[in-house]
Symmetry: D2
Subunit: 201 residues, 4 copies
Amino acid sequence: MNALEKLTELFRRFPGIGPRQATRFTYFVANMTPAQRTLLAEAIQGLSKNISLCVECQRLTELQICSTCRLCLDESRDNSQLLLVEKDTDIRSIEHANAYTGKYFVLGGSIPVLDENPLSRFRSEELKRKLQNESSTLKEVVLAFSATPQGEHTTDVLKEFIHKHSPTVHTSVLGRGISTGTELEYIDDETLRHALKNRVE
Amino acid sequence: MNALEKLTELFRRFPGIGPRQATRFTYFVANMTPAQRTLLAEAIQGLSKNISLCVECQRLTELQICSTCRLCLDESRDNSQLLLVEKDTDIRSIEHANAYTGKYFVLGGSIPVLDENPLSRFRSEELKRKLQNESSTLKEVVLAFSATPQGEHTTDVLKEFIHKHSPTVHTSVLGRGISTGTELEYIDDETLRHALKNRVE
Amino acid sequence: MNALEKLTELFRRFPGIGPRQATRFTYFVANMTPAQRTLLAEAIQGLSKNISLCVECQRLTELQICSTCRLCLDESRDNSQLLLVEKDTDIRSIEHANAYTGKYFVLGGSIPVLDENPLSRFRSEELKRKLQNESSTLKEVVLAFSATPQGEHTTDVLKEFIHKHSPTVHTSVLGRGISTGTELEYIDDETLRHALKNRVE
Amino acid sequence: MNALEKLTELFRRFPGIGPRQATRFTYFVANMTPAQRTLLAEAIQGLSKNISLCVECQRLTELQICSTCRLCLDESRDNSQLLLVEKDTDIRSIEHANAYTGKYFVLGGSIPVLDENPLSRFRSEELKRKLQNESSTLKEVVLAFSATPQGEHTTDVLKEFIHKHSPTVHTSVLGRGISTGTELEYIDDETLRHALKNRVE
């Protein structure tokens, strides 16, 4: 395997990348100047030195004081709410929507429907500790998962987990209903049932 | 224009049909037996004799007693709720979801955002009369429109119209949030805001 | 089943039409004026009186002199070429491309790959008669079928059929190669092989 | 800009990559082990040492004897044919189709339709030199470009260029016609004209 094929192999493991696009990436990199390639290689290596998990919310982040991320250090955010997401990028989506001001926790995974060892699928020990540490201030845990079978199963498992380890805390889930842009004509039955049940003034 | 072209012209006016599919339809009909063609022609003509608007909900329907449709005659349905839709087929979608047991009213259109004569865009006289007739029993009007700019504008206009002609009646709209199958990663900001705001236990 | 459902049933049999679009068609027709519905019904019925198969090329067409269609009566067209297509609409496509001036014949079907009775799948008797009648003038039969397994199998069967019934006639097939708009990057191997083999000056 | 954002910026420049996927790539890399990151960074850096342009065909390749690539060194390949492509990956596609045994030359670009300085868009000096060096053996230059306006313009410019610098050499282009899988019904007029004109026995 030559140097071009070796790099193509590595790009093929990137999420959503097939053989054709992996090859295009390799030729894109091969056509860079040596200086540009060095920049890219250093940016990749740089993550090892500069990035680690926040001890509070478990997301990957630039190191701050005491291994804690910017969002967890922010005292203006509401300590009574904790929003659980599956992965780091979900925090970005929610921050971008600009409609939540509480704290976060990254589970690091979701739970397949018939999984036999669900506790191994998410950061259960870290979450347990977090719930204990915050027990005096925490009032609501928001479960923000996909509206898919796996997302719904994750919701069920996490609800039980939270009620067991933090019985006085309320749990909530994202509202279900019609999404922006949806035409009534193309809506599925389940969404329509949610939209009718969750109708608002 | 020959007989084939004439029929193709008529099929081209069908909703969502381009020239290619109109031609395919014509050849499909041309390849029917004369008896099958007669059946189709009679089914089309038959609508003139058998179908009319229900005087109560204004949907197109098979004639029943007193020009009133099956749903409006159904005494087991809840008279205190009236659900407004843009068009007949929306009733089918909602009945299919099996989550609403009140009455219906078909507006016969929706209102474009900058329209100067909104009252001409829907059955405003019929709706006014309906609201007056039902004033003793009606408690809630559900506005079930698409989550599009035109649907939202129709909601705004209709809310005002109802509050003017039936001030004691409540209005509600379909719940907004994440639809079945939506992954958190691909959600738009507005839907995420609704989903966070409308979160449920 | 009421009149609306009956018509919806008939529209569902149209090529490429699912339940949702069949319903939309029905409401489209139901919202026509009675005069418009009569026009549509008469255009459908009209095909029984005005349309029949051309005795020469077997396509559905407006009746002309001696049950022969306009293209077959056209003396400016080249009698030495006969182009075979699967269905009527293929003639339209080829006429539209404006690159063929010979005669046509509509097979009325194509032949599935493992079919046991291929002669029953196309107008074999009519084609045999046509080849005999034209034996003095006919020089080339063009087989114009899809570049799919079924189209290629139809080509094979028809080549053999023609060589049996008209041994002196040449057969030809549509050129294979890259289609307009195709980028080299997304071409399949087989097409590329054809394009390399059939390369032109 | 932190380390994660810096890497996301670099991934955004990759061909076909939007902001969402660039972010996913960054988190994918961030979740690698330090050893895996080192492997990726070294594979990228490695291209600077191991890869260069072949002096004969101008493609990027692993270094071989005399800065010449494996294909150009292969004496079993036909020296009388030279196939011109726009970019490196096109050679892969053609080799994969396994239907060409001559030599290659990579232009390094294609020529936009109204471009004022077409000679600057491809390796015109290198191609001129190549044509001169091979003048005793070369008989045919195959122009293998996309069937798009830009590809066709590139063909026109290159034909002229070759006839000017190597007047006795023949040029040819990829055959046009219907591609594998194409149904006659959905073919465009231009492709159908090519397919009729280039029909084969």
